[in-house]
Symmetry: D2
Subunit: 465 residues, 4 copies
């Protein structure tokens, strides 16, 4: 079981009418697919009205040629989603398209609003009603208030209301607006593509469509793109920058660059630091595919222990895969991962992964390697123990379910039946990333939340009430 | 081309938890399917929260066994839809489920709100935003306002705001409310089924599930069903009753009873009156299946001209039927209707149908009969010429497209190439129905709208702005 | 429960390349859809090779625009199927396309081969293998034998082998062949359409595409259509003509003409004869829709008892309709048929239908009418009691399940709780049809099979071995 | 563009009735999915008759829970397919189920019969007809001949008839038979699983369901599993063993073991040999994912040049992915692969892949790396140049399209714009695999076919005639 990213967003503003605009978004979503596999959607404005197509599933499942053909225009936004708030239903798929006093708005949101519940309650008192259980709809609601002000002004005003993580792309019939919350929890970047500007959660989405990376959107920045070109405003803010470090550890694609730092290189250096902190005498480094692959290379390079492909992942796993029956439950992760007997047999293995959430999967992998003949399995984790729930866009279980919140490292080692277990230190991690500690959110490791968070148990507000 | 009914609604309140509640709604929708074939939906409350499943298509296409199984509870409402406002998209399917200050609400609406646009604008000024283009969402919005009042009170208040036709079933987590607008444009009736109360657009929905008909909901009545049983309130109103006469002419199923009057018998008497008003020497009465079938029986019985099945309808036509290519366009209505050569050959035919909208289809049918050898075709229409657009829940084209609005009866006769053409008079129609003229809406015939209506051209407000 | 027809077939030979040839077949299948709703298929030859698209479901479900577009050519055949032998699986859908020593063949078959099992066994001994459980594949196998002879010769030879009912359309890459078995059990007719010849199970398929009826294919006729035009051969045969009388009673569409006799008129005369044979004092004639509709008109016209639409059929029933749960079983046929209370109340009803198979449905309908207030229900059946199973293309149950095979008419009357029950006599039926008794197969009534048939219990040979 | 494997097969014989038997096959097919992604199928015998479910797509797309539930029994076979002969249509999906004189047979085939055309012609002369264009149906036909002999005998006889590659699993209602052609072109192995025996194309299919590997089926072996247990017969044969070396180079999963040799280790040694044969001064070894990954590790280990993840593969690519429009064609492979700029920039890269087919993809990858800043790109291929088409189960293009058949290595180097290009020698490859050269088929490299093959241009016999 891996931690799950909330969402990926993408936006494009073309200075010419573009018949292929939805197709471009489709390819970009495809490059961002790792950020959310539950639903996908594209909204396009032809300058007069907004059309939206969305559905449950991967982008290639949701969109057929005929859907893309119907969506041409000048401005478009797209979204892939893994649910953090709200359940996985059609109604919760994004972009959200609303009609308010100021006209039509489409919104795609990556992040999580901590005080969505309070805001929603206040809006409901005013008579506003809601049709989903997402915090993203609350953002749409806020932006629909105060008709005498411009949309930009309303966005600015919302900064004081909204607590939490929000990288947003917002579209009206004549402009595209990219917004990143003052803490900058989630990444967002700007690029240029033919006669268009594009914004995306990760730079790989720009690369994959052949767009040129320009820069990251800054925390607290409101970037407006319309017929007049680009203009940007950055609110003075007292928040400190707090980019989610897990983007480097696991979420982002290794071929993305965030804040000028290559995700691949950061992950590689985590492996190096890990090898420094937790050296061990062993015969082979094995990365858990694909989450531990890059750190394993770093570990191997520093430790001079050869790196081997000791675990093979079945590439054909899909959401609709039929689960084993009770009787076959022992198949466990075997259907997804298989050990390379010849490589691991009689070897002392350094098994590298990015994190341990509940411990169950890691236990199964260790067992699988030992069943395949591994003499010793030394588990190395390229981030510190995850002890605190995330409120800023990652789907972590409750603290009770986080094994590192309940057990010491030694207890976890026993649980997973490894010969040794080493977690990268916070210092090591920060060093590996290469940003200043003050610029990162490390709350899941140290509980030091950049913003006030609700008490445990009130996390999924809308689900529970 | 036939006029199209907006919608059918159904609601059920069970005093016990009912595992099969969605299934019951499903069968009821099936009996109401003729009232809307574009989308179908069911919302169920288990007492704590509301779940909804809806989609585009006929009920049997939208619901699979597994969908029904997931929907069990105590209260449920259902809806079948043909779009009058809003386009035919998933977002516009009903029931609409909203969360507002007062909790969760699900709404199913049959009718059309004339001033939805104005109300919506005012609500948007308050900060309310919308996600569909339906007037039904406007009703949901109104009911979400004013949190200090009870839902019943808010419904009462809405009567003064809403202008138009609305037969509503509204569900919260603990009650089912049935509402009929003060004019009573659209039918709505109450029944009893096992340990449940049910409300439905037409009595046939009660019959088909084995429920017992109790009574019609009255115009201006608000009927609340909850754990305390039934209670009802009827607002004093200055509106005159104005039940849509077209329910008798064409929309309702012949096996329904509305306001104590059998739809079949009303239709039969229209045929009788038509025979009185427009007798003709002929050999055979032929009803256009299925719209003219019953009136043809009445015409035949009175005129003593035998009734014959001169036109056969293909029962396998479906929405997804592939249309003829340009080259084959001449196939026209032939694929749907075919003449019975042996019956019509050399005969003088009285062709009975319920109405003529554009004239094209009737022209093709007359031609088809003549090609099959009919010597004369005398067209008899069991309602007066449709000269005015409907604003109360029927999808009529603009006045320009209504042939009777542009041409005299004699001109229409020439257009359709019939030997003679007779429309039932308003007096004849009213007499056939058996209600007082003052209780019926006859606006499509005489332009005498029971409520102020927007100027022509502003009909589909939300679509156009 | 109604008896079910096996299949409908259609073929077209165009003298020009026709981009729309599959579309034409599609519309024709649509007109023949009543002859089979389990699977549909179209095979097209472009002169070089045969492409086939088929699937389970109605024609409009099996074919999408894109499927038709891929099928263009000069020759095409189509098939709709209800299974008599073989189970309802994809593999058994038709047309069957085979490659044999003589090249490619596509075959569409309406009927049932009585001795398919014996023939198959002999072919298997020769080393021929089979991939379906249909008798139609056996026909394909026979036509694949004897490579030194022409296809026409092989067809002629097969006449001496095949016992049973077969109306066939056979296509190679350069010709279309229509074959009707020497007994002529199933109808088959020829028409002209633009620059094409067409053959079809029923004339309505010609009408619906605008083709001109030329003549029926004769029993024992082999009609070949190729670039040289039409040529026909009729084998001298000792078989007597034995057209299935049930085509007139129930299967064929009323707007078809078979052997020069209008199906509608035949059905009408059955009603007349029935009124002569079993008059009754009553207030209303009600036909069971749609099977009893036409005979009811005849009964009413002769008896002068008015005809009324006492039962309404729900037109939206479909194969995938979800069945009532155990608890709701009492809904029975109510979902499909509903009585018109106002019409039947306190009336003495003559209820007309075409046949009674097991008696269960008729019992429910009688009960439904009585529950709706009918004072008396007199059942009149427009054909004699079905006492024997059919081996020639109709899906009858075993004799044990045929109520008339187990009970006397009076016992059946009691079973269905009717006041009286009258079946048309064989003489009356023959008279109503208007063909000589010697030209019809009446075996299901009198057990007088035109060909030797297997002993009861060996009916579904392939299924059972 | 990669070479494509024909198929994967699996069979299971359970000594007890097994409700989950189809589910077990499903998981095994899932592990063999890399061997064929066009269609999947499972046939199960319950001891009396064989049921089969198959369709186009990946296993998880073809099978739903409800399909598996319907398939329970004692014996089952499964198949995944990539078409080498026959086109990709439903009709050609396997297993093939036939009824012949000896009863029901289901067949799943991996390989390619060279003389299928000749055999088929002879069978057609006898009157046998065919319904697909696959050589597998020809095998089924052969096994249907000669009813006086046992199935085992008929299989033995077929060895003298069939020329080519065939690893078969054959099922009747009481036995499972595994057959490997005398040359042993395609792998096939035996395992034990609970109270069952299983056979599979690759050992990983056994591992993934938790079965125990017993041994490879030998070339020319006929292994019968029935209630009496295992028995095996191996025909004396003059054929030399000729296992396809490409199973080691590319097709098989690295976690499979074939003929006692780990595919991973063989691939690793190919990298080592390649490093010996074509050393180069460079900064980084990059394997093309996933085909070059393992050899890259070997190359890196031997050369001491660090191995880096220079290319990232998008894991969400699927068959139904919408292709870029003409205008976007330049996106090329970018959507599937992206270079890691930070890793490759200013580096001299050794790019390792398993083979070059047409050269187009390799050219794009080299260009992609250079665009990302690579200073030099040295391409190393872990097998010799593919100069000859395969007739034994691999889908190679015609010789004209094989770049190595038309160009020298230096010309190919120029074409792909690499700084250097080195192909592993045949000797190096054989050494890396570790089998005797005389036991391998190396025909695609040296044209030395173990069996006579048709002349170029007659490869796809059934398609062309």
């Amino acid at each position: 079981m891996k931690l799950k990213e909330a969402c990926g967003v993408f936006g494009i503003y073309s200075f010419d009418f573009d018949r292929d605009i939805a197709r471009t978004v489709y390819y970009a979503l495809f490059a961002l697919q790792h950020r959310g596999q539950e639903s996908a959607g594209i909204a396009v404005s032809n300058g007069k009205s907004i059309k939206c197509h969305k559905g449950l599933g991967l982008a290639f499942e949701v969109f057929k040629e005929e859907d893309l053909v119907k969506l041409s225009g000048k401005i478009a936004i797209g979204h892939v989603r893994y649910s953090t708030t709200g359940s996985n239903t059609f109604a919760n798929a994004q972009p959200i398209v609303v009609q308010c006093i100021a006209g039509e708005l489409a919104i795609a949101h990556n992040g999580n609003i901590v005080n969505a519940d309070e805001i929603r309650y206040e809006l409901e008192e005013k008579g506003v009603f809601f049709q989903t259980t997402t915090d993203s709809e609350v953002i749409a609601a806020i932006l629909s208030q105060g008709y005498s002000k411009s949309l930009e002004q309303r966005i600015k005003d919302s900064f004081t209301l909204l607590k939490g993580a929000y990288s947003l792309v917002i579209m009206t019939n004549d402009k595209l607006i990219a917004v990143r919350d003052p803490n900058g929890f989630r990444p967002l970047c700007l690029g240029k593509y033919n006669n268009s500007y594009v914004v995306a959660s990760e730079s790989i989405a720009l690369d994959s469509i052949g767009a040129q990376f320009l820069r990251d959107i800054e925390p607290g920045e409101i970037l407006v793109i319309d017929s007049a070109g680009l203009r940007s405003e950055k609110l003075p803010t007292t928040s400190r920058k707090s980019l989610c470090v897990f983007e480097y550890v696991y979420f982002a694609r290794p071929d993305s660059v965030i804040e000028g730092i290559s995700v691949y290189m950061a992950r590689y250096r985590m492996g190096v630091e890990l090898a420094k902190e937790y050296p061990v005498e062993a015969d082979l480094v094995v990365g858990v595919p694909d989450s531990g692959t890059v750190a394993a290379i770093g570990y191997s390079d520093y430790s001079k222990i050869p790196n081997g492909l000791g675990l093979i992942k079945n590439r054909y796993i899909a959401r609709t895969f039929i689960q084993p029956s009770q009787k076959m439950r022992s198949l466990g992760v075997k259907l997804k991962l298989s050990p390379l007997r010849e490589i691991v047999k009689d070897r002392r293995i350094v098994l590298v992964d990015d994190s341990i959430v509940r411990g169950t999967t890691m236990h199964q992998i260790v067992k699988m390697l030992k069943d395949a003949g591994a003499r010793e399995v030394h588990v190395r984790i390229s981030s510190p123990p995850v002890r605190y729930s995330c409120y800023f866009g990652i789907d972590t279980p409750t603290r009770k379910e986080l094994v590192a919140s309940q057990m010491s490292v030694e207890e976890i080692r026993k649980l997973i039946e490894a010969e040794s277990l080493g977690y990268l230190s916070i210092e090591g991690l920060v060093k590996a990333v290469g940003l200043n500690e003050g610029q990162l959110c490390l709350a899941c490791f140290n509980g030091n939340y950049p913003l006030d968070v609700p008490k445990e148990g009130r996390k999924y507000l809308f689900e529970k009430r």
